[in-house]
């Protein structure tokens, strides 16, 4: 009777693979140290939830969620155009907090801390994805498509220019390339996939509130990409499995319930630090940022 639990985990992993691979496109391949990826995830989730609540058919809401997130992706790159490195990271972190506070306080639109319960299951072309197994297949298809598209982008001449932007932006500009356009395109693609991952998440969990899209989530996404190895799609996929399954494995550790909670967190932190010490560039990492 392990399948439902495993299916649930695989659905979450599928959604997080889309999130981390798309984050890697911006962070690992283009060198944009983006701590605001979770804001696109949240924007996608809320857009999709609110649109379907307003009667918009699921597929339309799903695509709009991605597009809406990628518009914010463009705005973020436009606003932080002059920044790089740590300063860009700080600005994007500021951006994700601003989005979080809007979700929390704009009660008129998002019901604020009350969140949005009862988000319906996706239905398109007459079939409704109700059981968790069919949802798994739906997520798997979207996940494979997303990873394939990002993989193609990275292996294309356009992807080569992204890597050049990461390694030496000035050196590339002098070769006549508009690196600003390259950066916002990369960020828009990355944000688009985060947006549709948000929609998949909202319609699976059926209840979202702002607390899903704040600090712990930012840390989780960043750790997965760094542990997996920047600029390595395989690294992000494998590390999503590793980082999400460790806490699950810890559930089976026989701990007395009084120390259960903190003890698991201690073990999780130690494993994370251990991996970093063993592979500072990440499991499959071969690229260093600066």
């Amino acid at each position: 009777m392990i399948w439902p639990y495993l299916t649930h985990l695989l659905i979450l992993i599928g959604i997080y693979v889309i999130l981390t691979v798309s984050l890697n496109l911006a962070l690992g391949y283009t060198g944009l140290l983006n701590l605001g990826h979770v804001a696109f995830f949240g924007i996608g989730a809320y857009t999709s939830a609110l649109l379907t609540k307003a009667g918009v058919p699921f597929l339309l809401a799903f695509i709009i969620a991605g597009i809406f997130a990628s518009i914010f992706g463009y705005l973020l790159v436009l606003a932080t155009r002059k920044l790089k490195g740590d300063y860009l990271a700080l600005a994007t972190l500021g951006f994700s907090f601003v989005i979080y506070s809007l979700m929390l306080n704009w009660t008129g639109l998002t019901r604020g801390p009350l969140g949005i319960p009862g988000i319906e299951k996706p239905s398109f072309f007459g079939l409704t994805i109700s059981s968790t197994y069919s949802y798994l297949i739906f997520v798997a298809v979207i996940c494979i498509l997303s990873v394939f598209v990002i993989y193609r982008i990275v292996k294309s001449p356009f992807g080569r220019l992204l890597e050049a932007t990461r390694d030496d932006e000035m050196g590339l500009r002098v070769l006549g390339k508009n690196t600003f356009k390259l950066k916002y395109k990369a960020m828009m693609i990355s944000a688009f996939f985060a947006g549709i991952a948000g929609s998949l998440f909202a319609h699976y969990i059926t209840y979202i509130d702002p607390s899903y899209f704040t600090i712990p989530e930012i840390i989780l996404l960043l750790s997965i990409v760094i542990v997996g190895g920047i600029a390595s799609i395989k690294g992000s996929i494998v590390s999503t499995f590793v980082i999400l399954l460790i806490p699950e494995a810890l559930r089976f550790l026989a701990l007395s319930s009084s120390i259960l909670g903190p003890a698991r967190q201690v073990i999780y932190a130690m494993i994370l630090l251990g991996i970093l010490l063993l592979r500072p560039r990440g499991i499959f990492g071969r690229v260093d940022l600066e």
Partner: protein, 369 residues
């Protein structure tokens, strides 16, 4: 090329897992159920780490006491830490239902987490009895969602009447900016206004915030005669009470039952003196004595409700219910005197709201009415 093969391979197992066991699962489910009939597993889901951990532990003590007293040898408790967060609660409930095969669950503690987990409880016909999720929204989550704590819709109204009857006309509210705080605040302010009182201020703060000075300055400026604190974060409540003393705010202080916790008394000291707390019954004197005997301290917040949540399930099991559905039906029929008062579930799985009023007198919660 190698990378592509590996990544597609890794994701490919989704498909296999997705398709392969779909038909298979239907057939094996019944057979597994029969084998495990002897040991009945009951799940516990609540925050055991993070800033709401003190509630989780206090409820857990109530549940353990009930289990010990009922002495059901064929019931096993499976504990999961869901950190009062929606995503954790969904993962925990999935694990409890499908992996441990629990047939009933005590949890979750926080309203937000209960709302996230409720659809899965209903989908799998596993009744969920929450000892402390008081958000009015929980009543609409289907027939498998119960709670042994009255909805805020009732306590908000009760608190408003209590303040009004004691002659206060200018109310200020200070609440945590999340599900519990906002839900309670909406009901409280509505009822107080309906009674003819005036709501002069309604300030909010982030769970865990410890600098509430400016919110209190705004509140003091509005010159309320009573301030109602609604918070499920003990650290913030202690900070608010101390800063009220520092700012010399004279108004009377009321608190929702989240404030009835020994940790707050210990942290705030004299600043909590005179605070009136409307709380769900913290347990009959018998329960309090037995809790004192067992743990050497008075019951913490929602401990009595945790006790009753488990007891309701335990009684259903004693009457021979083994599957989730049978327990659910038995729960609708439960009618017993629990630690927090008489337990009868209405059609939404809610219990009627009987509240006690406590007042902090020289460092202790004293029952006043």
């Amino acid at each position: 090329m190698r990378n592509l093969i590996i990544s597609v391979l890794l994701i490919g197992i989704f498909l296999i897992v997705g398709c392969v066991q779909q038909p298979a699962a239907e057939t094996t489910e019944e057979s597994v159920e029969v084998v495990e009939a002897e040991v009945i597993k009951v799940g516990f889901m609540g925050p055991l780490s993070g800033d709401a951990a003190s509630y989780g532990e206090s409820i857990k003590r109530g549940v353990d006491l009930a289990m010990k007293e009922m002495g059901l040898d064929n019931v096993e408790l499976v504990v999961e830490d869901s950190k009062c967060e929606g995503k954790e609660a969904v993962t925990a409930i999935n694990k409890l239902i499908s992996l441990d095969g629990v047939v009933a669950i005590v949890g979750e503690v926080c309203s937000g987490a209960t709302l996230a987990a409720a659809p899965i409880a209903n989908e799998n016909n596993v009744p969920m009895v929450s000892p402390s999720s008081t958000s009015p929204k929980v009543s609409e989550q289907g027939e498998y969602t119960f709670r042994t704590v009255p909805s805020d819709a009732l306590q908000g109204d009760f608190g408003a009447n209590l303040a009004y009857d004691r002659g206060y006309r200018k109310l200020a509210v200070l609440y945590t900016n999340e599900e519990y705080g906002l839900g309670f605040n909406n009901v409280l302010t509505e009822s107080f206004a309906a009674l003819g009182g005036e709501v002069v201020a309604s300030e909010t703060f982030e769970r865990g915030a410890v600098d509430i000075r400016t919110q209190l300055t705004k509140t003091k400026d509005a010159e309320p005669d009573v301030i109602y604190i609604i918070s499920n974060s003990p650290d913030s409540t202690v900070a608010a009470l101390q800063q009220m003393t520092e700012l010399g705010i004279e108004a009377a202080i009321f608190g929702s039952e989240g404030q009835k916790s020994p940790a707050i008394l210990e942290g705030a000291g004299e600043s909590a003196e005179g605070m009136v707390v409307t709380a769900v019954s913290s347990g009959t004197s018998g329960f309090i004595e037995r809790h004192q005997a067992e743990y050497g301290e008075a019951p913490g917040p929602f401990a009595a409700q945790g006790y009753d949540a488990f007891k309701a399930i335990g009684l259903a099991v004693e009457q021979g219910a083994t599957t989730g559905e049978e327990i659910k039906n038995a729960l609708f029929g439960s009618d017993f005197d629990g630690a927090s008062g008489h337990i009868v579930f209405d059609e939404n799985g809610d219990v009627s709201g009987n509240y006690d009023v406590f007042e902090v007198q020289n460092g202790e919660f004293v029952l006043t009415s």
